[in-house]
Symmetry: D2
Subunit: 77 residues, 4 copies
């Protein structure tokens, strides 16, 4: 579901409503804050797009991005 | 799952984590705000307790409470 | 603070932390859901970018967008 | 603003609306999750009541509770 492109790890998620999309974002926000590793993400209605890269490493994909991606995937199981 | 007691509609919900419990609360909060009918609720870790009654009707259970309870149940399906 | 560009009403907001930015987004989300008019928005760390246009009117700026923009501004007073 | 009673640190907070109260709860939730120390709290409309004690220490007030209380107070400055 995640693809690597332009030195970013990207994924798109779709939900049944804006409320479901935003509740998902809330869970991701908790994880991101706990890891102190925050996504570049956008939302429109029921869709959420997430891009992950590591600013401190020069905006490339690092193990932190893969870890956050795995935690996000766990939310959807 | 909902019981009527002391002129209130009550239910308890348990989740796998605090984050899941709070994401559920976020969804309920959206519904409550949209209906302009707000719960009396509490949370500790992964548990959420909700009590519904209608203040404007003299703190008794009304159709609005049953409607909010049904909307909350839908979130868990 | 809002500018009109490419048939969209756009604004950027900056906060003291990711948590403050996300709490602002939560408030905006409540307003958007209540109005049934949802933004196209993005966040990275403490920054939130919001774009408003009306899909049902052919992706142009309508009174609904101006109204949502005003409500968002009220949150920051 | 916080009082010690029954081995708990308690405070009540009032806001201008349910949405403001819930946005405050969202911020507190982030802090609590990050500290892995969660409140026993309740909300009705624009009011939030928070009780803090440390389960692992036998439900008494510990330094963790005072620390969480200080972090919550910072949110309101």
């Amino acid at each position: 579901m995640w693809i690597e492109i332009d030195n970013k790890l990207k994924a798109e998620f779709q939900f049944d409503s804006f409320v479901s999309a935003f509740a998902f974002m809330t869970k991701v926000a908790f994880i991101a804050e706990k890891m102190d590793h925050h996504p570049n993400w956008s939302n429109v209605y029921n869709k959420v797009s997430i891009e992950l890269s590591t600013h401190d490493a020069g905006n490339i994909i690092t193990e932190k991005d893969h870890q956050l991606a795995r935690e996000i995937d766990k939310l959807l199981k």
